[in-house]
Symmetry: C2
Subunit: 317 residues, 2 copies
């Protein structure tokens, strides 16, 4: 099977309705934004052995490859429209391709997000997705729009995905279907919540590198500090039997949760508490932004939890 | 140097004016299209050892990585606006990064095409670019809009880049500055020509896989055949001393030329002949589209040149 047959068979079957021109030309042509909205764009490159285990179920990999990009749109409050896929494959494995494209296009269909075009090549397994969405520019959930005394919220439980990675690396892989493994392999991007927060939340970021690190990005861009009440942080039930130090490390510095962290005025508490997330409870209030710089994470008795050793994931450190 | 410092130092320096929000958030926000235009999108993934030699000058690599994407916009008649960059690096080599970003941002500035955002990770060297442009949708130079009896034109000389690759693979690398090596390493995307052809040309494609193969794509999508007059094909002067069979192979099946191949009505001959290309002469008329299917390439005496063995590059064959 050649490059063009591969594209036809596994990726070009999905009907293209929002795009004026889809797969098969030099460029795809994207229909106009709705009036008053602008285009939000994000890109992610996932590499075997770095972002995922080489033996991961291909359908889960297809799902997750798009999920991490949908999560970036969610963190902006953008409505998904479409995406491009750049795929490097070591070999043409039809069973793998069939699973990968099924998982990818399943999640795409759930969000009305169309595969617009792409590029395929032979090489070490790599998946590059660029995603597009619409958002009213004045309401977009930027990182730099947090305000002092805003409440800080997260959209769901933290730490499960990092726990699944830790168990796998320790030679104790979780069984298929274990909720923590599901969270790692099939995260649910909070797209509907992001849209619902437009006009209410001030700033948002998605939790890919861990709460401590991503909160740091939001604070840095908003030129503020933060206080987090550790007892309020919704820690995954999968971590219930672990020692406190492990719970702290996984929930605050574990990556791959793909929940949203956002700030909103105190006056919006009731509105936000009423918003349910896909496959989870509602958002949980965990602290606030502070005019005072620095991030403090406090126990119930107000003693600080040291997070010096909880650095965010950085691909080059 | 960490991931975020790397981005700041080498990629975030370019001022962002067209985007409403550039590097540093979950998404970039792109300003609206001009009225009546739509967004053209293309993506390419370049891998070391497959798309380029690992020891290539990093500035040339940065240039070429964007050039191949600009060429896709050119083939659509789109005006470049911006791009995202996904970069996998085996190590943080400041000298390499400095050269790569300089070459990339040099070409970007020449086309008013802004770096909007990206993703960096550690891994085998890979460069994924997704590019955006504007084009009036009704005039876009699609592959499927050729008409029988259209003239076929190419925008410049063919075969030089493939000659440079061949010499390198044969252990006879061309010296730096040799015109064929320049064509391989710093192709000039025909963006201005693509724009000038709006409303005149019917169909277009850029020559990345070789004339024979890319003409095949255009014919297939337009459901037509083609006749090419070999003596009219502008073969690179670098091939002048080669045997005819080598000239045919390199000019018709060599890739990486990044000239435009386009079809236009015979009535447009004078208009098109008057269009100069960046760094080259004007477009050259090499044949025509035919209602009869199949591609025939003819010598001056009308005998056919067999091209059965001249298959286009296919990453999975």
């Amino acid at each position: 099977m050649g490059e063009f047959e591969l594209i036809r068979r596994y990726f070009a079957a999905a009907p293209v309705s929002r795009a004026r021109l889809g797969i098969g030309d030099d460029c795809a042509l994207l229909a106009d934004c709705p009036p008053g909205e602008c285009l939000a764009v994000s890109t992610d490159l996932l590499l075997a052995g770095r972002h995922f285990f080489e033996d991961v179920d291909p359908a889960a990999l297809g799902w997750k490859s798009l999920a991490v990009n949908l999560s970036d749109l969610a963190a902006m409050g953008a409505q998904p429209v479409g995406f491009t896929l750049a795929l490097a494959l070591p070999v043409v494995d039809e069973s793998w391709l069939s699973g990968f494209s099924a998982g990818l296009l399943d999640l795409a269909a759930r969000h009305g997000c169309e595969l617009l075009g792409g590029d395929t090549t032979r090489g070490p397994l790599a998946i590059g997705i660029t995603i597009f969405g619409h958002v009213p520019p004045g309401q977009a959930l930027r990182r730099d729009c947090g305000r002092a005394d805003d409440d800080l919220w997260v959209s769901g439980e933290l730490g499960a995905a990092a726990f699944a990675v830790r168990e796998r690396l320790a030679g104790r892989p979780l069984v298929r279907g274990h909720p923590a493994r599901e969270r790692l392999e099939r995260p649910l991007p909070r797209v509907a919540l992001g849209r619902a927060l437009l006009g209410t939340a001030h700033a948002a970021i998605d939790l890919s590198d861990g709460l401590r690190g991503d909160l740091g990005h939001l604070c840095e861009r908003s030129r503020l500090g933060a206080r987090i009440d550790w007892p309020h942080v919704p820690v995954s039930g999968s971590l219930a039997d672990l020692p406190q130090a492990d719970r702290v490390a996984l929930a605050l510095a574990g990556g791959d949760d793909y929940e949203l962290l956002f700030s909103a005025p105190q006056a919006a508490r009731e509105t936000i508490a009423g918003l349910a997330c896909e496959g989870a409870g509602g958002p949980v209030r965990i602290g606030s932004l502070t005019a005072e710089p620095g991030i403090r994470i406090l126990n119930a008795d107000a003693t600080p939890i040291s997070t010096d050793e909880l650095s965010a994931f950085d691909h080059f450190r």
